[in-house]
């Protein structure tokens, strides 16, 4: 295979140092904001401005302090949320709704259907027969910049429009279906495996650099999806098996816009995560934890510590091919185990007879807000830098103009700052509101969240540790 440019590596390393600065500034800013001082933010902002061309590892504070500040901000938010003990207010925030009248909603859905199918054809067609350079290929740009960065952001910032856009759903409607009953005992486990599998594939293969390979993977996904729709019916397939639809449905629960009884309604962002029917069983809890873990994993495998560990393990005779799936599963197990421990400990502290699985599925959705926050931190800079390249390729798919990238201004850090903060604050609030709904005692509700808050601090510090390491290309992959 000829060596091709790796657009993702370069832009990811830029966005890494950029997001690291943003996170650090954000933490310092929140601290001063939350605790009413300006002492901490001034030096952090000053250093943030001067770090632009410095390597990412030169934090202006020691690593342990950087991590402790992140954990401290999450813990302080929990304490602040615990001051809100007015049940009526908590319920008011949850129940606030406005009905929006969307003109010509049916026509919009049909336009989205058409856009989805044309997009799929373009990704496969241009991917297979278009320019070989990834930065010039519309298929690669649409999938990574347009869809996985841009569209995914709209699902949690605006609302989940994937059911209308999903080209496979549109195509499957035209196909016959056998309507086989879906085995209930499988639950959401196939989509957990599917999500972990897709992320593993993304990490170990040059999916972002090789348009031909990407098109083939999309074709394979198309074949599996359509076969599944024919066997079980599109509603069962996209509702229970397909990992991509599930990701967007869960992200959509964070969003302010949602459908309720055929009407589009506006709610306070994040309050959809308090609904009891969002996560209904253990396998769906596992999916939520997997979604949080894969964003972390994606960053982890591109850090120097991972390179050192991987090199040492392969040196000891571990097969390189098993390294990535093993790390994926071990990390998922650690994240899932930590969450289960938190739920069990919370159950003891709250002195409740509610079963642990019930508590797990009610508290799991709060993690989705954190996952959404980190998705923004990972992809916002990437999206904006490469948008002109995407537009160029859209203007002329077969002979695009040479790629243009946006250079982000320094003030732009503040935008990511807001979103990273928001993810954690929303998660703390959602867990707080959920505990008030579950437990009659207000102190009892606060106690139930001690362990969960500790686990959220652990997730935060893990993510910050990864974000603060310099980018290195993952070893032992093509």
């Amino acid at each position: 295979m000829p060596t091709r440019s790796r657009p993702r590596s370069g832009s990811r390393s830029r966005s890494r140092s950029w997001s690291e600065r943003a996170v650090r500034t954000a933490l310092a800013a929140l601290f001063s904001l939350v605790l009413g001082g300006v002492v901490l933010v001034a030096p952090a902002l000053a250093h943030g401005g001067s770090l632009r061309s410095a390597p990412a590892r030169s934090l202006s504070v020691p690593l342990w302090l950087f991590l402790a500040t992140g954990g401290g901000v999450v813990g302080a938010s929990f304490l602040l949320a615990s001051f809100v003990t007015d049940r009526a207010f908590v319920r008011l925030v949850h129940d606030w709704r406005r009905v929006l009248s969307l003109p010509a909603a049916d026509a919009l859905v049909r336009v989205a259907n058409a856009v989805g199918v044309v997009g799929l054809l373009a990704v496969v067609g241009v991917g297979l027969f278009g320019p070989e350079r990834a930065l010039l290929n519309l298929g690669v740009l649409v999938v990574w910049v347009g869809w996985w960065a841009g569209f995914a952001m709209t699902t949690y910032l605006v609302g989940n429009t994937w059911p209308a856009l999903n080209p496979w759903r549109t195509i499957a409607r035209a196909l016959p279906t056998l309507d086989r009953p879906y085995p209930d005992r499988l639950g959401a486990w196939p989509s957990v495996v599917g999500l972990l599998g897709l992320v593993w594939l993304e990490v170990v293969s040059p999916l972002a650099d090789d348009p031909r390979l990407l098109a083939l993977v999309v074709l394979a996904y198309t074949a599996v999806t359509l076969a599944g729709c024919v066997a079980f019916g599109p509603d069962t397939w996209f509702g229970r098996v397909d990992p991509v639809s599930r990701v967007f449905r869960y992200y959509g629960a964070v969003a302010p816009l949602h459908r309720d009884g055929g009407r589009v309604k506006l709610r306070i962002p994040g309050t959809g995560l308090e609904d009891a029917d969002l996560v209904t069983n253990r396998s769906e809890v596992a999916f939520v934890v997997a979604l949080l873990w894969v964003t972390t994993y994606d960053g982890l495998v591109a850090t120097p510590p991972w390179r050192d560990v991987a090199t040492a393990l392969v040196g000891l005779g571990a097969p390189a091919v098993l390294l990535y799936p093993a790390a994926l599963l071990v990390g998922f197990g650690v994240f899932y185990g930590a969450f289960r421990l938190a739920i069990r400990s919370g159950r003891r502290r709250a002195e409740t007879y509610l079963p642990a699985p019930t508590l797990a599925r009610r508290f799991a959705p709060s993690l989705l807000a954190i996952a959404a926050g980190y998705h923004v931190a990972h992809y916002l800079g990437y999206l904006i830098e490469l948008s002109p390249t995407l537009l160029g390729a859209l203007s002329n798919p077969l002979a695009p103009p040479s790629p243009v990238a946006v250079v982000l201004p320094a003030w732009f850090q503040g935008v990511a700052l807001g979103f990273v903060l928001l993810g954690h604050l929303v998660a703390i609030w959602v867990a707080h509101a959920t505990s008030f709904e579950l437990f009659p005692g207000r102190i009892q509700a606060v106690r139930s969240q001690y362990a969960l808050t500790v686990v959220m601090v652990f997730y935060t510090m893990t993510s910050l540790l990864i974000v603060s390491r310099p980018y290195v290309a993952p070893p032992f992959v093509s």
Binding site: F31, L35, G37, V39, L40, P43, S60, V61, P62, L65, A68, T69, G72, G75, A76, L79, L80, S82, F83, T85, R87, A276, E351, T352, Y353, L354, P355, T358, R362, L438, F439, P440, G441, R442, I443, Q444, V446
Partner: protein, 96 residues
């Protein structure tokens, strides 16, 4: 132990089947609580319109007792916040 109406299995209000024999059951929905105060608070929140005078009094007593507890908790939380704030302030002052 009194079992009021039969709770539906799998709902949030179903008591844990493996729960201990002691506990305080809600006579309207059957949910079980570890403390009498939790049961009384639950009655006032979930079944307010059906309460008799004794239950209403118990709810109000539990609510008042809880308010006292919350005042104490807030003081402690405030103390921790202040400690965290000044802790970080000092650490940052010595590190930067």
């Amino acid at each position: 132990m009194s079992t009021g109406s039969t709770p539906v299995a799998g709902t949030d209000t179903a008591p844990d089947a493996r729960g201990p024999a002691e506990g305080f059951d809600c006579s309207y929905c059957g949910r079980r609580f570890a403390r009498e105060a939790y049961r009384d608070l639950h009655l006032g929140q979930e079944h307010e319109e059906r309460l008799d005078d004794t239950e209403r009094e118990a709810y109000e007593a539990a609510h008042d007792a809880e308010a006292e507890e919350i005042r104490l908790f807030r003081l402690k939380a405030l103390a921790v916040l202040v400690l965290v704030y000044f802790g970080f302030l000092v650490v940052y002052a010595f590190t930067l």
